[in-house]
């Protein structure tokens, strides 16, 4: 079964690189878990401190997820606009540029070349190259959309989200003299990415996949997409204030941030309901179960991770004690996994078979891998959460000191080495599966 548009093939190298970086990210993650559980020798810490390996772990995450989004965009935009990508050559150039910048940045961290801002450690010269890569991408996609003159809400959500993402990145570029103002705008990148621009992208990708696999009329899906987007932006923009409680900003942020962010789970709940509703009312046509499993799993864990776990410590009364603790880590891991990792994997399992010309493929490995990862991640979240609650009580409420609390949390860090390794098994299985998809086994009765 050939691709509808040959330039969709551009997506495949993006997916391959994204998957390999994902696996590497998790290997580094195991090292981090180990760093918490055992004592690393002083000599090793002097050359490769936790700060370096942590930067590698988080930057790999962002890089592979963004490469995933770019690949998924290149795959779906031709079908949405009903024309080929404006310039596939630019698309390949963009990939080489971004991967090159990524490799140099990660190697640079090891040698101490860093901007020193968490999650945004890439030094200034490389930042500008990232901006160039993003501009190439937006130009390529924008020209395709412009020349097509076939506007859809899905395209608007996707392209809007991508432009929003790119513009917010610019707030990372200046050096801020005042630490509080620095953090104020740092959150314009981080929060308005994952609780703003990225949600617009996620909503668009999910809507598109659901239209494809359930054959629910586009009109219905796009109408509710408007509602989802409206709720995401209403709650998420002012909800940025839930990061402004304790950094030296006026006290009204506790009210504004608290109330708006408490409502942030609502659009995610709507996404769960929409997915459930469309799948229940699906018309036959799409073959295979795994994409459905991933769609449902993603929407549920997106809600549980981002919505529910986020809600647990968004109110200032709780956040005063849990801010900057392993509670944050718990929420961060499950939210990213549910909202963005499973989103990309769901799309990969839809698109890669088509890119390889397979109508049906053997879903057993992929299904096993999904359950392995998801169960491991849920258990990891619980372990992080127990550690976080212990830290909140011992360090913050009782005031017994940082390392005293960490000593009590050490058992849970050891657990996380085991659970993280189980997660890695699921990841490796997923990556191997997607890169070596096999046709479905022959059935006896046809």
């Amino acid at each position: 079964m050939a691709l509808t548009y040959s330039s969709q093939r551009l997506a495949y190298p993006y997916f391959v690189v994204a998957l390999l970086l994902f696996a590497l990210q998790i290997v580094v993650g195991i090292w981090l878990a180990l760093s918490y559980a055992v004592t690393m020798p002083q000599g090793l810490v002097d050359i490769l401190p936790f700060s370096t390996t942590r930067a590698i772990h988080t930057n790999l995450l962002v890089l592979w997820l963004l490469l995933g989004f770019m690949g998924t965009t290149y795959f779906m935009i031709p079908e949405e606009t009903e024309r080929e990508i404006y310039s596939p050559v630019l698309g390949y150039l963009q990939l080489v540029l971004l991967v090159g910048v990524g490799v140099v940045a990660l190697a640079g961290f090891v040698f101490g070349w860093t901007k020193g801002k968490p999650l945004l450690e890439i030094p200034f010269p490389l930042d500008y190259l990232v901006v160039v890569g993003a501009l190439i991408f937006l130009f390529n996609v924008g020209m395709t959309i412009l020349q097509a003159r076939r506007w859809t809400v899905v395209q608007g959500s996707l392209f809007g989200g991508l432009v929003f993402l790119a513009v917010m990145y610019l707030f990372n570029l200046p050096f801020y003299s005042n630490l509080s103002i620095d953090w104020y705008y740092w959150w314009w990148v981080i929060h308005l990415w994952v609780e703003g621009a990225w949600e617009l992208i996620a909503a668009a990708l999910t809507a598109w996949i659901l239209i494809k696999i359930t054959n629910v009329p586009r009109e219905t899906v796009e109408k509710w997409l408007y509602v989802e987007l409206g709720l995401f932006l209403f709650t998420g923009i002012a909800g940025t204030g839930h990061h402004y409680y304790w950094l030296g900003a006026p006290k009204y942020w506790l009210w504004v941030g608290g109330i708006f962010s408490a409502l942030e789970p609502v659009p995610i709940l709507l996404m769960v309901w929409d997915a459930w509703h469309y799948i229940r009312n699906r018309r036959d046509g799409f073959k295979g179960r795994l994409v459905f499993t991933l769609a449902v799993g993603m929407s549920i864990l997106h809600f549980v991770g981002a919505g529910f776990w986020g809600f647990l410590h968004t109110l200032p009364q709780i956040n005063y004690y849990t801010h900057g603790s392993q509670v944050t880590v718990a929420h961060g891991h499950i939210a990213f996994f549910g909202a963005y990792v499973l989103l990309n994997l769901m799309f990969f399992y839809y698109a890669i078979p088509k890119l390889k010309g397979l109508t049906e493929f053997d879903e057993r490995r992929g299904t096993l891998a999904f359950w392995f990862m998801s169960v491991a991640m849920v258990l990891m979240t619980l372990a992080f959460s127990v550690a976080g609650v212990l830290q909140t009580y011992i360090e913050r409420v009782m005031g017994l000191g940082y390392m005293t609390a960490q000593a009590q949390m050490r058992f849970w860090f050891a657990t996380l080495v085991v659970l993280g390794s189980a997660f890695l098994v699921g990841v490796v299985l997923t990556v191997v599966d997607l890169l070596t998809l096999r046709p479905a086994p022959a059935r006896e009765n046809r």
Binding site: G116, P118, I181, Y184
Partner: protein
């Protein structure tokens, strides 16, 4: 739900939140100058922020609660440890860590001073009393009267002793309370603890306090009088 309603939710929802957020951003900029004591944001403090970023401290430590979660929060570290305490930890972290190690970073003396200035300024930001665990280290400027204004009392505050010891219900709980230490230990014994704590308590984690002879004499004299 009609298409029109759906579109209204999108446009109105986005607009309301955006206007509110941008409006409050403008007001925050107005108020943040006072809340962060911006008039004290000297070139020394800014240089210190650059040192903080140069050595990637924020990927192990949190500051204002943001960053990474491998080491303690640095917002009020100046209250906990004081200038000398901070410099001592950065210079010889292996003397202050046990089962979780901090790298030995090659900060110059200038960089150390700048870092201290940065962390001192940071500690004075109005964080609405965050973090909760460091509120007890609040500089006892009002309570300096209780301790007295002797050189020894001032050294006790500056050298970061409050980080681990309590005096008159102020301070940390890692080491023994020192309100009546003068009735437990002699002047000579106190001197010994200050210079070489492990010789007195082999299993303790008290680091040696970097002091000149005069400073040691003053501090020991002050503590010996706490009967």
């Amino acid at each position: 739900m009609s298409w029109n309603t759906a579109r209204w939710i999108f446009y109105l929802g986005t607009f309301i939140s955006l206007v509110l957020f941008l409006g409050l951003t403008v007001d925050t900029h107005r108020q943040i100058q006072a809340l962060t004591n911006a008039e004290r944001l000297s070139s020394e403090v800014i240089a210190g922020k650059k040192v903080w970023q140069k050595y990637n401290c924020n990927d192990c430590h949190t500051i204002l609660g943001f960053g990474s979660y491998y080491g303690p929060d640095m917002t009020k570290v100046y209250w906990r440890r004081g200038a000398e305490g901070i410099k001592a930890v950065i210079r010889t972290p292996e003397k202050f860590t046990t089962w979780r190690k901090m790298p030995r970073l090659p900060l110059t003396d200038t960089e150390l001073d700048q870092m201290v200035s940065f962390l001192q300024w940071t500690g004075d930001i109005d964080t609405h009393d965050w973090p909760p665990q460091d509120q007890k280290f609040r500089p006892a400027t009002g309570r300096a009267v209780t301790l007295g204004v002797s050189p020894g009392a001032l050294l006790f505050q500056e050298k970061g002793c409050f980080a681990c010891h309590r005096v008159y219900e102020t301070g940390g709980q890692l080491g023994p309370e020192l309100t009546h230490v003068g009735s437990r230990l002699s002047y000579e014994a106190i001197e010994k603890v200050l210079t070489d704590p492990r010789s007195v308590s082999p299993l303790g984690t008290m680091p040696p306090t970097p002091l000149s002879h005069e400073e040691r004499d003053a501090l020991a004299a002050f503590l010996a009088k706490m009967k």
